[in-house]
C-alpha cells in the first residue's frame, strides 16, 4: 500500500533502466540528499561533524571501496587499513610538497596513487583465491604500515613519525586544519562521497560491474564466456583502492587532522570495514552506508544512551557497549545473513503488499 507502483508506467528504455525505477525510492533518495546538502549544514555543530557525520561518511566511502572488491568481485581483502594509510600519506606528501595544489586534485591524486598500489598488491589474486588471497592482502596491510613507520621520508622526518595536516582551503573556504568550520568539512566530504557513491552505483550495474559479478559467481564460467580475469580483477582492485585511498585521505586530512600509521591504520581498521560490508550487505552500495552507520554510529549512540541517559559509569558502559555490539551483530546476522540492505529490501516488499500479504 505504501509502496504501490500502480500507475507508474515506463514508456522508454531510459526510464526502465533508471537508477531508481520506483518513484517512491527516487523521491526518498532525492529528499535525503537534499536534506543532507541544504538543511544539515545550517545546524551542524563540531560534535555532530567530528564525532558522527564525518566518520560515518568517510567509513561509508571506504566500505563502498571494499564492497566493490569483496562484495562485487568476490576478492576477499584484509588490506583495507593499509590502503587507507596509502591514501592518507599520499595526501600528506602532496599537500606538504605542493602547497599550491588544489585540494580536489590532491584527493584525486591520492586516490590514483592508492589505486596503483592496489593493482600491485592485486596481482597475486590471479593465482590465489579465497582465504589464501586474504592472507596475501593481510601481508600488504602489515608491509604498508611497517613502511610508513620505517621510512622517514613519508612523514617528512618528523620527530615522532606523526603526520599532521597543514591548513588548506578551497574556493576561499578552509577545509583542513583546526580552524575549518564543521559545515564546510561536512559539505566537502558529503560532496565527494555522494559523487563517488553515484559513480559506484552506476559502475556496479554497467558492463564493468557485471563482469565483476560474473567473476565472483564463478570465475571459470566467466572466463569461458569471454571475461578476462586479469583485467577484471585488476580493475576491481584499482577502483576499490581508489575509493579507499580517497577515504584514507579524507580520514586523515579532514577528520583526524593528524595520524600515526600503527594506530590510525592498523589491522583493526581492515576488520572494521570488512564487518561493515558484511553487516551492511555484500554487493550493495546502500548496504555500505548502512553498515558504516551501524558500526560507527551505534557504539556512540549506545554509549551516550548509557552514560547520559542512564547515568552509568563510562568505563562500565564501555564494556556493556562492546558486548551489546557483539549481540546486535549476531542478532542481525541471524535475522538476515545477507545484511541490513537485504533486510531493507524485504521490508520494501512487505510494504508493497501490505495489508494483504499472500
Amino acid at each position: 500500500m505504501f509502496y504501490r507502483e500502480a500507475g507508474q508506467f515506463k514508456t522508454t528504455y531510459k526510464s526502465d533502466q533508471a537508477l531508481f525505477p520506483i518513484a517512491q525510492d527516487r523521491y526518498f533518495v532525492i529528499g535525503v540528499v537534499l536534506f543532507a546538502f541544504l538543511v544539515i549544514p545550517f545546524f551542524i555543530t563540531d560534535y555532530w561533524a567530528n564525532a558522527l557525520l564525518l566518520p560515518f561518511l568517510i567509513y561509508a566511502l571506504a566500505a563502498i571501496g571494499l564492497n566493490i572488491l569483496t562484495g562485487y568481485c568476490g576478492q576477499l581483502s584484509l588490506g583495507t587499513g593499509g590502503f587507507l594509510a596509502v591514501g592518507a600519506y599520499a595526501s600528506y606528501k602532496l599537500m606538504t610538497s605542493f602547497p599550491e595544489m588544489n585540494l580536489i586534485v590532491v584527493f584525486l591524486l591520492s586516490g590514483l596513487i592508492t589505486a596503483l598500489v592496489g593493482i600491485f598488491f592485486g596481482v597475486p589474486s590471479l593465482r590465489i583465491k579465497g582465504f589464501y588471497l586474504a592472507v596475501a592482502t593481510l601481508a600488504s596491510q602489515f608491509f604498508i604500515v611497517w613502511l610508513f613507520n620505517k621510512v622517514p621520508w613519508f612523514f617528512n622526518y618528523s620527530a615522532t613519525g606523526q603526520i599532521s595536516v597543514p591548513p588548506r582551503e578551497i574556493f576561499g573556504f578552509l577545509v583542513t586544519g583546526p580552524d575549518a568550520s564543521p559545515a564546510i568539512t561536512y559539505l566537502f566530504t558529503l560532496t565527494l562521497v555522494s559523487i563517488f557513491a553515484l559513480l559506484a552505483k552506476n559502475m556496479a550495474r554497467g558492463n564493468v560491474g557485471r563482469s565483476w559479478m560474473a567473476i565472483r559467481d564463478m570465475d571459470i564460467a566467466a572466463e569461458i564466456i569471454g571475461i578476462r580475469p586479469l583485467k577484471t580483477k585488476l580493475i576491481a582492485f584499482a577502483v576499490s583502492s581508489f575509493y579507499i585511498g580517497i577515504a584514507g585521505a579524507l580520514l586523515f586530512a579532514v577528520w583526524l587532522g593528524s595520524a600515526e600509521p600503527t594506530e590510525a591504520f592498523g589491522i583493526d581498521q581492515s576488520f572494521l570495514i570488512l564487518f561493515m560490508i558484511i553487516i551492511g550487505g555484500l554487493g550493495s552500495i546502500l548496504g555500505s552506508f548502512m553498515g558504516a552507520a551501524f558500526m560507527v554510529l551505534m557504539p556512540i549512540f549506545l554509549k551516550n544512551f548509557m552514560v547520559d541517559g542512564l547515568g552509568l559509569q563510562p568505563a562500565f558502559s564501555e564494556h556493556v557497549q562492546i558486548m551489546l555490539m557483539g549481540v546486535l551483530i549476531i542478532f542481525f546476522l541471524i535475522v538476515e545473513p545477507h545484511g541490513l540492505a537485504r533486510l531493507w529490501q524485504i521490508a520494501k516488499e512487505k510494504l508493497r503488499i501490505w495489508p494483504f500479504p499472500y
Binding site: 620527530a159 615522532t160 594506530e263 590510525a264 568505563a315 564501555e318
Partner: protein
C-alpha cells in the same frame, strides 16, 4: 529573584493545593520546566574539568590508577575545601580507551559541557598531537604532564600547551647521565651499547632524536627496538637483546607492554639494575607480574611513591570513607606510583586554575583565564607542604617562554621483596644544552608548518 521564578509555576506554598487543582497538567509541567531552567542557570557556576580516562582496553592497567588519582584529588577539593577558592569542581568523565578516534569524540563531547572545559589532560601522546591544533583553535589549555609533544616546552610557539614539569627529552638525557654515572663517568660510555625498547607510536618515538644526538656526543651505540601496539608479543625483541647483549636497556613502554617486557627481561636473565624505564614504565602493576625476578628494576621518576603523605590521609578520610570515590574498590591501592602521578597532575592543574582565578580576581574563570594561570604557575616546595605533599617532588615554575618547568628527574628502584618502589638517587638536572636546540628546531618546524608567528615573551 530566581526564588520567585522557581515557585512561579507552582504558586506560593499555602495555596499550592488549590493551584494544582486549577492548573492543567500542561501548565504544571511548563512551570516545572521553567523552574528547573531558572535554578539550573542560576545554580552556582562550576569549574568544568573533563577527565579523559581509560579504564578499558590494553592500557587500562596503567590508565585506572592514574584516572583514580586524578579524580580523587578534585573530589577531595570539593569535599574538604568546597572546591577551588570556594567554587565547586564538576568532573566530566569520558572513556577514551587510549584510542585517538574515541579521543576526538570525547573532546568534542566535553568541550562545551557546563560553562566550557577549563583544560584537557588526555594522558596520551597520540591524542596530544591530535588535540594541539584543536585546543589552539578553540582556546582551551592542554596540560600534558611529562608526555606529549616535547617541543611544546617552547611557550612562544605553543601558547596553549603545557608540559610542566618535564619532557621525554629531559628523561632521555637523565637516563644516559645515570648510565654514565654507574659506568664510572660519562667518558666510559664510549663504545657501550644502549638499546631502546619503545612503543611503536608517537609516544615511544619521542626520545629517539635526543638519544641519537647523545649517542654521537658520548660515543655509545644506540639500538632501536620497536614494539607494536599493544605490546603483548615481544619474544623477537628480547631474543635480539639476548644476542646483542647491550650494556643498558631503556624502555619507553605503556600498558600491557611494560609487564611483558619486564617478564621477558627476567626470562633472559637481563640484569635488572641495567634496565631503566621511563616514568610511565615504572609502576606497581608493571613489575608485580614478574615476581621476585623484577627486583632491582629501575625507572625514571619525578615524584615520590607511597601513601605516607598527609594528603593521602585526607583522601582516605574525605573521599573513600565519605563514599565519594569513583572507584571505591581502589582504597587499598591508594599511593601507587601512577595513582600519585594522577594526584600531582590534578594538583598542578588545580593550582593553575586557582592562580588564574586570583590573577583575574574572578570566581568564574574561562579557559583563557586558566591558561594565564598555567603560565603563572608557581608551586614551590613550601606550597607543596601546605597542600599536604611535603617532599613529594621539586618546586615548579612556568614562564611565558618555558612551558616545561625545571625538568628534573630521579631514579627509582623496585624492591620485589617489600613490593615497594623507592627513589634511590638525587634529582638530576637534565642536559638543557642538548635538548634546548632540539626544542627550538622542532617548535620552529611546527610554527612554519602552521603559519604561527612566535609571540614575544617579556
Amino acid at each position: 529573584m530566581h526564588v520567585r521564578g522557581k515557585e512561579g509555576g507552582i504558586g506560593p506554598p499555602d495555596n499550592i493545593k488549590e493551584d494544582i487543582k486549577d492548573m492543567k497538567l500542561k501548565q504544571l509541567a511548563l512551570g516545572l520546566i521553567a523552574a528547573v531552567a531558572i535554578t539550573g542557570s542560576a545554580s552556582a557556576y562550576e569549574l568544568t574539568v573533563p577527565t579523559m580516562d581509560y579504564r578499558t582496553g590494553p592500557y587500562a592497567p596503567n590508565g585506572i590508577p592514574f584516572a583514580n588519582g586524578f579524580s580523587d584529588y578534585f573530589t577531595l577539593l570539593n569535599e574538604r575545601d568546597g572546591g577551588i577558592n570556594g567554587v565547586r569542581i564538576k568532573l566530566v568523565p569520558c572513556e577514551t580507551g587510549y584510542n585517538t578516534k574515541k579521543g576526538v569524540e570525547c573532546y568534542e563531547k566535553t568541550k562545551k559541557v557546563g560553562s566550557g572545559a577549563l583544560f584537557y589532560s588526555p594522558l596520551s601522546t597520540g591524542m596530544t598531537y591530535q588535540l594541539i591544533p584543536k585546543v589552539t583553535a578553540d582556546g582551551i589549555p592542554l596540560y600534558t604532564m611529562g608526555y606529549g609533544r616535547t617541543s611544546a616546552a617552547n611557550g612562544k610557539v605553543f601558547k596553549w600547551v603545557f608540559n610542566v614539569p618535564l619532557t621525554y627529552w629531559d628523561g632521555a638525557t637523565v637516563a644516559v647521565k645515570y648510565a654514565g654515572e654507574k659506568s664510572g663517568g660519562m667518558d666510559k660510555l664510549k663504545g657501550k651499547k644502549i638499546a631502546l625498547v619503545y612503543h611503536n607510536s608517537a609516544y615511544g618515538k619521542e626520545p629517539i632524536r635526543t638519544l641519537q644526538v647523545l649517542s654521537k656526543k658520548f660515543g655509545f651505540d644506540l639500538k632501536l627496538l620497536p614494539v607494536d601496539h599493544p605490546g603483548q608479543e615481544q619474544k623477537a625483541t628480547w631474543l635480539q637483546i639476548r644476542r646483542d647483549k647491550p650494556d643498558w636497556v631503556f624502555m619507553w613502554g605503556w600498558g600491557v607492554m611494560n609487564q611483558v617486557a619486564i617478564k621477558e627481561a627476567a626470562s633472559i636473565r637481563f640484569p635488572m639494575d641495567h634496565f631503566v624505564g621511563v616514568w610511565w614504565s615504572g609502576s606497581e602493576n608493571d613489575v608485580l607480574p614478574a615476581g621476585i625476578k623484577a627486583d632491582g628494576y629501575k625507572s625514571l621518576a619525578f615524584h615520590a611513591p607511597g601513601a605516607d603523605f598527609p594528603l593521602h590521609k585526607d583522601i582516605l578520610k574525605y573521599v573513600y570513607d565519605g563514599g565519594k570515590a569513583v572507584d571505591p574498590g581502589f582504597k587499598a591501592r591508594v599511593g601507587e606510583v601512577l595513582y600519585n602521578r594522577g594526584l600531582i597532575n590534578a594538583l598542578w592543574a588545580s593550582e593553575a586554575i586557582r592562580t588564574g582565578m586570583n590573577i583575574h580576581k574572578t570566581k568564574e574563570p574561562t579557559a583563557a583565564m586558566v591558561r594565564d594561570g598555567f603560565e603563572a604557575l608557581d608551586v614551590s616546595e613550601d606550597r607543596l607542604k601546605e597542600l599536604g605533599l611535603p617532599g613529594f617532588t621539586f618546586g615548579v615554575k612556568v614562564t611565558c617562554a618555558n612551558h616545561k618547568g625545571p625538568g628534573k628527574v630521579a631514579i627509582q628502584s623496585w624492591d620485589a621483596k617489600a613490593k615497594k618502589w623507592s627513589i634511590v638517587t638525587k634529582f638530576y638536572q637534565p642536559m638543557d644544552d642538548v635538548t634546548g636546540p632540539l626544542i627550538a628546531e622542532d617548535s620552529a618546524k611546527y610554527a612554519k608548518e602552521n603559519n604561527i608567528t612566535p609571540r614575544t615573551c617579556k
